[in-house]
């Protein structure tokens, strides 16, 4: 009886695992088929890839190459800026008690509720008034701003797990505050900072709405907007959209899979609680 149940249970478990995983992979599979199809045959139904038109990938890459380059630039600058702003802030929030601390923590949480598109009509008008539409610096600042709260919370949780004793020793040795932060805290905070940096990088790389409202200059488009332009072209070039989409997901996917362990341990130590 027990034997039977476990065999049935195992079968059910494996079926569910496979079905859910197929669901997770289906859209990519559909895109791969089209990405390998010559343009003349795109409209034919294929359940399995029947062609091998690899040159589509070259066309796809050329079409969004500039977008990917821009996205990397925005993501890297925004990640660095976010870290520079959030590490010291999260550190003092985690280590010291002072008036207004609760207000700052609650305020950060509140920003998460009104993020994104809700503020963009205002930001658009403010940018317009300041003559800053198409300002790369302005957009990077907004991209940084929308990620700050999340990252400060991640670091705030992480720094609380570090032992205070090392810092006290360093301070007693006459180490300045900033030097202590850079020389003592940063070297032992690798995993926590990695999680925060990955989130900012990927979030910025994926951002669509902010540049949609604040950029009109196509040369400055990140890859999300380059790809959207392809979706709204008068003639849809499916065999180019497919490889472009597949190429575009490589950087965030690789980063995520590579740092999977860090992210899961980051989640258990304080990011989401």
């Amino acid at each position: 009886m027990i034997e039977k149940q476990t065999i049935g249970g195992a079968f059910l478990k494996w079926s569910l695992r496979i079905v859910i995983t197929l669901f997770a992979l289906l859209p990519m599979y559909a895109a791969i088929i089209i990405a390998l199809t010559p343009s003349s045959h795109v409209m034919n139904m294929q359940l399995f890839p029947r062609y091998f038109e690899i040159s589509n990938f070259a066309t796809g890459f050329i079409t969004i190459g500039n977008g990917i380059k821009n996205s990397f630039f925005y993501s890297i600058t925004s990640t660095v800026l976010t870290l520079v702003i959030s590490i010291p802030a999260a550190y003092v929030l985690a280590r010291h008690n002072f008036r207004g601390k609760q207000i700052i923590l609650f305020g950060l949480l509140f920003t998460q509720m009104i993020a994104g598109i809700v503020l963009l009509p205002s930001l658009y008008t403010l940018f317009h008034k300041a003559n800053a539409i198409n300002s790369v610096l302005g957009v990077i600042l907004v991209l940084t701003g929308v990620n700050l709260a999340l990252v400060v919370w991640i670091f705030y949780g992480y720094f609380q797990t570090l032992p205070v004793s090392i810092e006290e020793a360093a301070m007693l040795d006459g180490c300045g505050y900033l030097r202590m932060l850079v020389k003592v805290i940063l070297p032992i905070s690798g995993p926590g900072i990695a999680v925060g940096a990955i989130f900012v990088f990927v979030n910025t790389y994926n951002e669509f709405v902010i540049p949609l409202f604040l950029f009109t200059d196509q040369a400055k488009y990140p890859l999300t907007l380059s790809l959207y332009s392809m979706l709204t072209d008068t003639t849809m070039r499916w065999e180019v959209i497919a490889p472009a989409s597949l190429i575009a997901i490589i950087p965030p996917t690789l980063i995520f899979l590579f740092f999977q362990k860090y992210i899961i341990s980051g989640l258990t130590t304080g990011a989401v609680k």
Binding site: P27, M28, A89
Partner: protein
Amino acid sequence: MNKVLRRATFYSLMPLTVVIILIYLIPVLNVIMNAFTGFTGSSTGEFVGLANLAKIQAEIPKTTLTTLIWTMGSVIPAIILGLVLALLLHENFRLKKFFLAMNLVPYSIPLIIVASFWLFVFNQNFGILNGLLLALGITSKPITFLSYDNALTSVIIARIWRATPFAFINFYAALTTIPTDLYEAASVDGATPSQKFWHITLPLLKSVLSTTLIVLTVWTFLVFDIIYGMTGGGPVDATRIISVQIYKELFHFKDLGTASMWSLIAIVILTIITIIYWALFERKGKPDD
């Protein structure tokens, strides 16, 4: 607190505070002000009371309902699917790492590319879903997944696909923190697997469950990219949620007033939802804590 510390605290928090004021506080106040200001016709720049609300009044019920169906219709299935997946992948089995990685792939994909991927699945001519349904004999002619009647369901499926890994990874991480001796003790007492789930696993996942539910609800409520990329909010108004409405008022009708009124409506509804969740989980949480 000594002087050095006080200065360090001040300088550490200043950049953060400045950016938050610039990117959030000023725009939020601006949205509230603009929602009651006229931007079209003769009343440009004047306080117009509730005139902007009157202008969009006819669209409020339908758009709000669509937004709520979109939100709940994708968040609840994503959470259930994420939880099931976490339970299935948590135990040790062959190929565990492979399954884990494959199911995490959608997690980091840009939403606009989620839209593009699902267009390949739902396309009426070459869409693989129609191909599968026809091959399996489930349907005899291709289904128009992006028609007026089906479009909302289709965009919701795309959203479920993208939200599931987030729920999954949260539950998975939480499962790794549950001490195994709890289960061993329960086994000794003769507990069945389902008893273990309802009495050990689920209660311990409660705080993660509430966080995941609230975060996914807020995020999904304001998603723009998936719908804008797949249907543009159409056909007609079939998938027109509040975020699409905000964009259209601003860029198609050039009306900052009504766009801001929609933003304000979104903020109000999200606040109400958050309060409901909070009350629900706080009250339920009391006896245990």
